[in-house]
Symmetry: C2
Subunit: 203 residues, 2 copies
DNA sequence: AATTATCGCAACTTCAAGTTGCGATATCGT
DNA sequence: ACGATATCGCAACTTGAAGTTGCGATAATT
């Protein structure tokens, strides 16, 4: 009985359970959706008992936000190939990659199957989107500096134009989304930008 | 010629109740979302008792699909002003109008807060989208015929490019959406189309 | 191998979802 | 206007999933 034991003996198997439940929660989210997401099913899929989940997380909301938070840190590399065309293509392709990957699927499911009503999720959506936008802006400003795009081209506007068709196909049109989609988006965006249609939105 | 009496005499007050419940269901859907949509709350909002709703609809799913089906017949007028520019602007504006109006809000909420897992809803989404697309195609083909757009411009591709930024702002970026958004979308689409970036998608 | 935190299990509680029988009421035909 | 009848309101009931608790079993650290 030492007055200061740094902590109890290190926990042990907790980490494995935590990871398994996280994975199960995201998986359930993807194929059942938020509305039909029950703690019991998550536990079942994780090969864990219901009570274990309830002891570790207050409810399904905190479980979900926790699980998503762990995976929302997906960094997107900002390309710098020296030419807008290849930069935009790379950017579009990496958007497609992340959105169609397992993590992206989970995130989309969370945001578009009801969890959007949780303030944490709604805020996270805007934050992640804005963050990527601002981090990708150098691609545009560099292109303008190189003279490849007209002066005054608005980075945010351009990047939204690039991302929009991908999201549309994924969420609404239910079209297949692959590299071709990405390349077409890049091509369209580039054409619009060169024509000066993506200059600052002011009036 | 009625071989058999269609039914007992015409129902009576059923119609009013039906309409009230439909409206209440859509309203609840918009501010609570699908996940939190309970039959009891809908009944309460409709000024009707729970049992009345249950007697008329099997469960909340059939109630929702029924309510939405009634309002999904919103026809969009296809403009024909004689010039692509004004046509596209009108089209984009009417998309914004319908999506930001009360019915559009309900439809979006249904499709993006969990009801998407109901096969009827998912199919309806694709169907409605495709239907509008095909009905708006003449706008593009006429423009090509007039020589305003390059030969081989793909109508579907162009219209998706037009709609995409509006949906993106509405669903993901959470930006304000108004006529300005519509006009910018039309402008961008036109620029891309004139540059030949929207020709047939074949490789 | 001993210790201790965590997990599995089953029984329990709680609460919303959905059901039923009956009396009240509004609509339609005459 | 008045009676016939289908629908609605109401309250009590049934059902089932969500979440809880105590105890024995298990796995990891020293």
């Amino acid at each position: 009985m030492q007055p200061e034991q740094p902590s109890a003996r290190t926990v042990g198997r907790g980490a494995k359970v935590r990871a398994a439940v996280h994975a199960a929660a995201l998986a359930e989210l993807v194929d059942k959706g938020y509305a039909a997401l029950s703690v019991e099913n998550v536990a079942l899929r994780a090969g864990v008992h219901k009570t274990t989940v309830y002891r570790r997380w207050k409810d399904r909301e905190s479980l979900l936000t926790d699980a998503l938070g762990e995976h929302l840190a997906m960094d997107i590399p900002v390309p710098d190939t020296g030419a807008v065309e290849t930069d935009l293509r790379a950017l579009a392709r990496s958007i497609v990659q992340t959105l169609t990957g397992p993590t992206g699927q989970a995130v989309l499911a969370a945001m578009f199957t009801g969890a959007a009503h949780l303030p944490e999720i709604a805020e996270a959506r805007r934050h992640v989107f804005d963050d990527r936008l601002t981090r990708a802006e150098p691609v545009v400003t560099r292109a303008v500096r190189r003279g490849e795009l007209p002066e005054g081209t608005d980075p945010a506007e351009l990047l939204k134009t690039l991302a929009a068709p991908i999201y549309l196909r994924l969420l609404i049109a239910a079209d297949p989304v692959d590299e071709t989609t990405a390349d077409r988006a890049a091509h369209i965006t580039l054409a619009a930008a060169r024509a000066g249609a993506l200059r600052a939105p002011a009036s």
